[in-house]
């Protein structure tokens, strides 16, 4: 809530409140005068009929009408799609501008004759009955009330928040009431005409902004063309939330990015209406006496001219209705008060309930997390989370045990994003982690009307669970233990790898290519079991296990090093002597990996461990089983088998954490890995691994099927064990 958001509505509230208040004041004064006159000149029977009560009833009815209108606007547009909301918002904005413009000019013209006109109405009411007085007050105040409501609603939409505009309007109305009371009591003097003239100019500027905003909404809704014909876009320069942007956008409703249509409309409206207003003032001014405070009092009224007959020519029907209503002020008031309220309730009740439950907007501020979330129904639903905190952050929806049901991992400042959650019976709470601020939470909301437990049905394609489950957040500390176990496992494999590389070097020195090939396979499988999938060991991993692809010069490049370089040489008839330097480089690179194994860049970051649980085998599917990394050794199945072994180890280390979140999941994954193991072993003939090209189609399909099934299950591990980021 900022001052710039308050100002336009303060002005509107003050002006419209003053207009309505003046009408009421004049009516009250006229009634007092009329009542006094009657008492003086006629027997009392009539006088008791003319009290101030009918006027106040009319005012009350008008307030009810405005309130009902506001409620209908708010609730009905919430139920609309965003495009329809834009369309309705745009149309109402344009309508509000038309009303305000008409009001400004009407005030200018009518100011002079208003007192006389209203006195005539009072006189008519005394003749017809008090009910007419109620209607007069109702019409006068109701019109201003509807205008205020509409304008307030559109400016609130334009500024994207409700608190500032509401406070502004309330303050303006309160000031107007106090001012009217003081004027009525003759405590202050105010040149009302001058007041309306001066505020009118400010109002025209505001209305121009609302017009531009409304046209922009209609363009967003594709009701008008030109949404992408941008006149200027300062969003890159204007820091949203900076004071001067708020000041300009708040007061004028202009935005840092406007289409040509918006700019043209703004200039055209201001350029036509302001001169027209000034000109109208000049032509009227000489013979229009501004309403002064004096004219508001009974004395002032008495000094006015004779009562003019109602300027709006009343038809016969209206007259008859006047007479009918005139005798029953309480009934009229009752009808006027009750009908708008009933109509509003009926309209709101008739709105589709489902849509308002399925899309809910919740707001995040610096101090509050979804304070507007108060109720929810069971089932799958989408929330629009509006981030007004000015900071990036994470939004979680948690159940009673603190498990996460849904999340927006990153939401930018001054943006909104969708969050989809499936809720069952129970209590839920939004948690907001915005920047470095302390975490905030919404009030707990009880969900009822759904099934009593989370979805438990299972399907064939997903053996674990078909419904969404809530996930207990994991901490780095919880993952540290398992990661240490993995490091120890990998260190053991690296020791074996170093020994195998030493043997390769000996083989090559002895020019024993056959032995070198066998030891290469051992070394390659040792490396696979280190679990350095997907560049998770960075450039060091590439030095040990890189491929020629992507290197200019390919297999002949000096940048092609490591196990696959050896494989290429051994299977492409390169001399043992020429491969000795390759093996030596490999030995030193392996030594570096051994030394740095526990650094964060290699195996030391515990948050990478859950990713390893599925990516080692993804690596096998992508690089080995596709044949893409085969440099002649034909070891795809052997390598995949080694990847399976390290995956089983990693899964074992993570099993307690996984079972705490999705009981039984590791067992299911373990079963699928066992099937993969069988399928892989079935590609061996006489204890020797077949290559991709020599294995039968059926054996290949068994392997591809088993690894795919295991991966579909294992892919949940990083989601189940995700450490929330820090913003």
């Amino acid at each position: 809530m900022t001052w710039p958001d308050i100002f336009p509505n303060l002005l509107i509230g003050l002006r419209e409140g003053l207009e309505a208040g003046l009408v009421v004041s004049i009516l009250l004064a006229a009634v007092r005068k009329a009542a006094g006159g009657l008492q003086d000149g006629a027997p009392g029977g009539r006088a008791s009929r003319i009290s101030a009560a009918p006027i106040w009833l009319g005012v009350l009815a008008a307030v009810m009408l405005s309130g009902s209108f506001a409620a209908v606007l708010t609730f009905s547009t919430d139920a609309l799609s965003s495009r329809a909301q834009e369309a309705v918002g745009g149309l109402l904005s344009v309508f509000a501008v038309a009303l305000v413009t008409a009001m400004i000019f009407w005030m200018r013209r009518a100011a002079a004759g208003m007192t006389a006109h209203l006195r005539g109405e009072v006189a008519r009411a005394t003749a017809i009955g008090a009910g007419a007085l109620t209607i007069t007050a109702f019409l006068a105040v109701g019109r201003e009330g509807l205008e205020t409501t509409l304008f307030l609603w559109t400016t609130a939409r334009a500024s994207g928040q409700t608190a500032g505009p509401l406070v502004g309007a309330a303050a303006g109305l309160a000031a107007a009431v106090v001012l009217c009371w003081l004027l009525y009591r003759r405590a202050v003097k105010l040149n009302v005409g001058a007041f309306f003239n001066r505020t009118a100019l400010a109002l025209i500027v505001i209305a121009a902004g609302v017009l531009a905003y409304g046209l922009g909404e209609l363009q967003d809704a594709s009701f008008l063309s030109g949404q992408r014909w941008i006149a200027f876009d300062l969003t890159a320069h204007a820091q949203p939330g900076s004071w001067w942007v708020s000041l300009i956008t708040g007061i004028t409703d202009l935005s840092p990015k406007m289409t040509v249509l918006q700019v043209v409309a703004w200039i055209a409206y201001a350029g036509v209406v302001i001169p027209a207003f000034v000109k109208a003032g000049r032509s009227i001014a000489p013979d229009a006496a501004p309403i002064s405070a004096g004219s508001l009092t009974a004395g002032g009224l008495a000094a006015g001219g004779p009562a003019a007959p109602g300027s709006r020519a009343a038809t016969g029907i209206a007259r008859r209705w006047d007479r009918l209503a005139g005798r029953r002020p309480w009934a009229v008031a009752g009808v006027l008060v009750v009908i708008p309220a009933l109509a509003a309730c009926a309209t709101i009740a008739a709105l589709p309930a489902a849509s308002s439950a399925s899309v809910t907007t919740v707001t995040v501020t610096r101090t509050a997390c979804a304070p507007d979330w108060t109720s929810a129904a069971a089932g799958t639903q989408t929330f629009t989370v509006d981030n007004s905190s000015g900071l990036p952050g994470e939004i979680n929806l948690d159940d009673t045990s603190g498990d996460i049901v849904a999340e927006i991992e990153t939401i930018g400042p001054a943006t909104s994003a969708q969050l989809t959650a499936t809720l069952s019976n129970g209590t839920y709470v939004f948690k907001c982690f915005m920047g470095a601020l302390p975490a905030t939470a919404s009030q707990p909301v009880q969900v009822t009307g759904g099934s009593s437990s989370a979805a438990t049905s299972r399907s064939a394609s997903s053996p674990v669970s078909s419904g969404p489950i809530a996930v207990k957040p994991v901490t780095v500390a919880e993952l540290s233990g398992p990661d240490k176990e993995y490091e120890a496992y990998a260190a053991g494999q690296l020791t074996q790898l170093a020994q195998a590389v030493t043997r390769i070097q000996a083989d090559l020195r002895g020019s024993d290519v056959a032995a070198a090939k066998a030891d290469w396979l051992t070394a390659q499988l040792d490396w696979e079991r280190v679990g350095a999938s997907y560049d998770s060991f960075g450039n060091l991993g590439l030095a040990v296990d890189g491929l020629p692809d992507g290197i200019p010069g390919g297999v002949n490049s000096n940048d092609f090093t490591g196990l696959h370089r050896l494989e290429y040489g051994l299977w492409h008839g390169q001399s043992a002597a020429s491969l000795l330097p390759v093996a030596a480089t490999l030995a030193s690179d392996v030594a570096i990996v051994q030394r740095k194994l526990t650094s964060d860049d290699l195996a030391g970051d515990p948050t990478n461990l859950p990713i390893r649980a599925h990516e080692i085998l993804e690596d096998a599917l992508r690089d080995h089983l596709s044949g893409i990394d085969d440099q002649g050794g034909g070891a795809a199945y052997a390598e995949t088998y080694a990847d399976l072994q390290v995956t089983e180890a990693v899964l074992g280390y993570l099993t307690p954490l996984l079972n705490a979140r999705q009981p039984g999941m590791p067992a299911i994954a373990g079963g699928q890995l066992a099937i993969l193991k069988q399928a892989l072993l079935a590609t061996q003939v006489n204890g020797q691994w077949e290559s991709l090209t020599t294995a039968s189609i059926s054996a290949r399909e068994q392997v591809d099927s088993a690894i795919g099934a295991a991966l579909e299950t294992l892919s949940a591990v990083p989601d189940l064990l995700e450490v929330p980021p820090t913003h």
Partner: protein
């Protein structure tokens, strides 16, 4: 009521002026919308001009409205000499002109097989076909005596780190990009063109592509499920970034454009097993709306200055590396006109599917290569495997009925 003539004229004039203003703004807006057409997606046109300063199929129709179907075919020239190469170009011009205009194929009588396959019926419709012809650097070797006439920035596409290039899917002397509203039109075109050019060129590799409609709105999605092409430059900006106008370039090359084609396998099974947070952090956009992670809707401009550490949009995310949105990198932007492809089954039983990346620009080194080098080792590389494509130079347009492809080059 009396209306003075003066007031009548005044009123009429101001009414007319207001109507003209409102109409002008709305029509201008509709035109601007049409130019970007970002919310309406592809517009089906019956035909696009064949003759002009620039070839169609680059910015005509604009990428956001590109035809739904495409074929990218690379050829090696078998023409024996420069004269035969000129004849090939002349024949290609005739075929492209006929196919993109439509009409009735000639009747060859009973003495030979029919002149047309009738795949599109007796009368060939234009069906939004565009034929875009490009040349590769290999055309400028010693075969045709063109070595000193090569566009300045044209080279053979080098391998980039993380590429898995397969020679059978790389390079070529010529490249045809055929785009049309229906796949049979594309097929008919390549079949007709090869029928008439057998002796002059041979197919080296060919891949068919398809575009997606907006789902549900805005820019079309790629096979990773993300909106792709949101930040494509449009309108005059696109023209300024695409057409070659450097005086240092050969005169014949003015009005052409450098073209990069990359055939990128997407490991869609693997991708589908990646958490949504990781997916979104890799792209830097939300998958549902296409909004940048710091925005609300697709076309919101990411504000990197407000997020120097990448807490909201990671520093190594695709959109941030590809287009840092700084003054210095503005001239590096490219115009992407990409398609999806489906190509059967991979060795490991996975779908062979992905992305035919087609980019046009003024200068490959300044634009594509600079951007591509920033993208080396972006997290996304684990899920894609570029395996083919090449660098090409899209010829200037065939200006009129007396002109033909590469006339100025071969003159």
């Amino acid at each position: 009521m009396t209306v003075s003539r003066r007031n009548f004229i005044k009123g009429t004039a101001s009414g007319a002026a207001a109507t003209a203003l409102a109409g002008g703004v709305l029509i201008g807006g509709a035109r601007a919308d049409g130019e970007t057409a970002k919310s309406t997606g592809p517009v089906t046109h019956y035909s696009y001009p064949f003759h002009g300063t620039y070839q169609s199929g680059v910015l005509t129709p604009p990428p956001a409205e590109k035809q739904h179907y495409a074929c990218v075919a690379a050829f090696d020239c078998t023409a024996a000499n420069k004269a035969e190469l000129a004849l090939l170009m002349y024949e290609l011009t005739n075929r492209a002109w006929f196919l993109t205009t439509g009409g009735t194929p000639p009747d060859l009588g009973v003495g030979q097989p029919p002149s047309d396959s009738d795949v599109l019926g007796p009368t060939v419709p234009a069906d939004g076909l565009t034929v875009t012809l490009s040349v590769g650097s290999s055309l400028f070797d010693d075969r045709y005596g063109l070595a000193n006439r090569m566009p300045l920035k044209l080279t053979q596409m080098p391998p980039f780190p993380n590429d898995f290039l397969e020679p059978a899917w790389l390079h070529g002397d010529l490249l045809l990009q055929l785009c049309a509203n229906h796949p049979d039109t594309v097929h008919h075109a390549i079949r007709d063109i090869t029928k008439h050019t057998r002796s002059g060129m041979q197919l080296r590799w060919k891949i068919d592509g398809y575009g997606s409609p907006p789902r549900p709105s805005g820019t079309a999605r790629n096979l990773m499920g993300f909106k792709d092409g949101t930040a494509n430059p449009t309108g005059t900006l696109a023209g300024d970034l695409v057409w070659v106008n450097d005086p240092a370039e050969p005169a014949w090359a003015q009005g052409g454009a450098y073209q990069v084609v990359r055939l990128i396998r997407m490991l869609v099974e693997f991708w589908d097993r990646v958490s949504i947070n990781e997916q979104q952090n890799m792209f830097g956009r939300r998958r549902d709306s296409g909004a940048p992670l710091d925005g609300t809707s697709e076309f919101d401009i990411p504000n990197y200055a407000a997020d120097p550490h990448g807490y909201v949009i990671p520093l190594d995310s695709h959109i941030r590396l590809a287009n840092p949105r700084t003054k210095a990198t503005a001239g590096q932007r490219i115009i992407r006109r990409s398609y999806n492809y489906d190509l059967g089954v991979d060795e490991n039983g996975n779908l062979q599917a992905g992305h035919i990346f087609i980019a046009y620009q003024q200068d490959i080194q300044r634009q594509f290569e600079t951007v591509q080098k920033r993208l080396i080792n972006e997290p996304l590389v684990d899920y894609v495997q570029p395996f083919g494509g090449g660098y090409f130079f899209a010829l200037p347009g065939v200006r009129n009925v007396n002109d033909w492809y590469a006339q100025d080059l071969l003159a």
